[in-house]
């Protein structure tokens, strides 16, 4: 059904606001994209233009290590290096491990809290939820010391350690869902001779794809963007995730000033995975984010 809506002043103002906001949101990103194609010498002359005069790929070649140090300095580089491919791969591994393992662990725990009566369950669930309230900076120092003592600095295990076993919100959210599943389906399975593990794997999990994906999506967003912990653990270039690599690329300025072209090219590259995800899973992402406030 198509409704032809009345054009009122209020609607015009609303459209104006919306379009302005869209421009404010998207313009900086487009501007960054433009800058990434601007040759080193023309940054100032083209600073107010929407398109570069002489588009070049040298900034991209630089950050992918296709130019030697001399060539790259000549192309306006700072002489600093960013292993954008390596850090992209690190980010994918880092995020991937955490999302898969954490979601699975949290689903297991959430199911137990929802359905299996056990001694101490109320107390432990309360403690899990309370863990959400601890500012990450509190556990940061002891966790860092632990990783150092275990020799896990600069290792993937050290990077994922505080995240991949448990997350209070995921347990809380999934427990809500498991509680809402019709109980008699699980009781039917119990009468059919399934034990708790079989009921979880054969009945509860297959019925939980939507909430599991919601949790996984939210964790993906958070972990893809996580900065402080990997920043402390991954001091070696080969271990850095994207945000960490970008930050150190930005702060290394042997030539005295940042390599804006390279930095903006790296920014564009780092944005691309997000745009691709948004393109394929836009609805899921939007709805997942909305879910956090809905409960």
């Amino acid at each position: 059904m198509i409704l032809i809506k009345k054009i009122t002043p209020a609607r015009c103002v609303a459209w104006l606001v919306l379009i302005t906001m869209l421009v404010v949101t998207l313009f900086p990103l487009l501007f960054v994209a433009k800058t990434s194609f601007v040759p080193a010498g023309e940054l100032y002359t083209t600073s107010t233009q929407l398109l570069p005069d002489n588009p070049t790929l040298s900034n991209y070649k630089k950050i992918f290590g296709l130019l030697s140090t001399e060539e790259s300095i000549a192309a306006g580089g700072s002489g600093a290096n960013i292993n954008i491919t390596t850090s992209m791969i690190n980010s994918v591994i880092f995020t991937g491990i955490i999302v898969i393992v954490q979601t699975f662990n949290c689903a297991l725990a959430a199911y137990a809290f929802a359905r299996i009566p056990f001694y101490g369950s109320k107390l432990l669930f309360g403690a899990f939820v309370a863990s959400m309230m601890i500012p990450s900076v509190v556990t940061l120092i002891p966790n860092f010391v632990l990783m150092r003592d275990l020799g896990l600095l600069n290792s993937m295990l050290g990077m994922v350690a505080p995240f991949f076993l448990m997350h209070g919100f995921a347990v809380f959210f999934l427990r809500q869902f498991f509680i809402s599943l019709p109980k008699d389906i699980e009781e039917a399975a119990q009468l059919d001779g399934a034990n708790s593990f079989m009921i979880f794997f054969k009945i509860a999990l297959p019925l939980s794809w939507a909430p599991l994906m919601t949790v996984a999506t939210l964790t993906t967003i958070n972990m893809w963007n996580e900065f402080l912990w990997p920043f402390l653990i991954a001091t070696d270039d080969s271990m850095k995730t994207l945000p960490v690599a970008l930050q150190s690329f930005k702060s290394q300025t042997p030539q005295g000033q940042p390599d804006w072209g390279g930095l903006m090219a790296a920014t564009v590259i780092a944005t691309i995975p997000t745009i691709i995800m948004l393109f394929f899973f836009g609805r899921r992402i939007v709805e997942s984010v909305q879910f956090t406030g809905g409960k």
Partner: protein
């Protein structure tokens, strides 16, 4: 099996189920939280043995102007950040609720939130660059004097707040939009039959029914903003002239630049108490503001 009571047997299963998460909880939340308190009573530079100093760190903290300044800046940052972010988010949500269901618009609005703080900081570092940045070009276009933004002690924190408003506005809008869509349309229909104006509807129907989402957004964004770190690490590193040395930045600096683990822990434990007090207060208010729907 028949020897074991059922509760015992299901307890066995229960603990098997929560085992990995429980290990994670104990190892990375409970124990470190306790250990942080322990470290806060010591003098420790990570290299030598920790040295018990009792409450010295807390005493030092109370006398440390930088600590108070950090708290003040964080609080100031929250005040700069939250009201505007919520207002813009609400504005956007209402506009989107009325005008379009387009997924593209939603995705575009949400995009900044999906980018990391570091990335967003870099984007704006470029945009706000005093010489090369487009913002100053626009300012000049309107005949105003160019500004230093992140380089100016008076503007740095405001600029950081603006950057974060840009990143979180879409998130707020999405959360409010979800809230708006739970409000039954018949409420508006019956109100418009009674000749209520749009603005009155917003005030008398929309806002009150949006209260639970509002409280949620408030709690999460206030506690989150109070702990601002990433953007400052990338853009200003606490400068210029300590004008952005917010509390978490100061704590991390003490721990990992000055290696004053004991002192940093004392501050972080204090921060935790402040956040806890705030959250409990908010939960108290939240309980008083359960949804009026259903």
């Amino acid at each position: 099996m028949s020897f074991m009571s059922r509760k015992l047997k299901s307890s066995l299963f229960g603990y098997l189920f929560i085992f990995p998460a429980l290990i994670g909880f104990l190892l990375f939340y409970a124990w470190p939280a306790g250990r942080a308190v322990g470290i806060s009573f010591t003098d420790w530079n990570l290299l030598s043995e920790p040295y018990y100093v009792g409450l010295d760190n807390y005493v030092e903290m109370l006398e440390d102007d930088q600590f108070w300044n950090g708290l003040k800046l964080s609080a100031y940052y929250v005040l700069l950040n939250i009201p505007l972010q919520i207002m813009l988010g609400l504005f956007l949500a209402v506009a989107m609720d009325r005008l379009t269901k387009s997924l593209f618009v939603k995705a575009a609005i949400l995009l900044p939130y999906l980018l990391s703080n570091v990335l967003v900081a870099l984007v704006w570092l470029w945009m706000l660059d005093p010489i090369l940045g487009i913002v100053n070009s626009l300012v000049a276009f309107f005949g105003l004097a160019p500004q230093a933004y992140l380089g100016d002690p008076d503007q740095a924190l405001v600029s950081v707040a603006a950057i974060n408003i840009w990143r979180h506005m879409g998130l707020c809008a999405m959360l409010f939009l979800a809230g708006l869509q739970t409000i039954p349309k018949y409420l508006y229909e019956s109100a418009s039959l009674e000749g209520v104006t749009e603005f009155q509807m917003f005030r008398k129907i929309t806002l009150p029914l949006l209260r639970p989402v509002m409280v949620f957004v408030l709690v999460t964004s206030v506690t989150g903003s109070f702990q601002i770190f990433d953007t400052i690490a990338v853009t200003t590193a606490g400068g210029p002239l300590d004008s952005t040395r917010v509390i978490v930045y100061y704590i991390v600096q003490n721990a990992f630049s000055f290696y004053k683990m004991g002192y940093a822990s004392a501050m972080s434990v204090t921060l935790c108490m402040i956040m806890l007090a705030y959250t409990l207060l908010q939960m108290h208010i939240m309980r008083a503001s359960e949804s009026d729907l259903n």
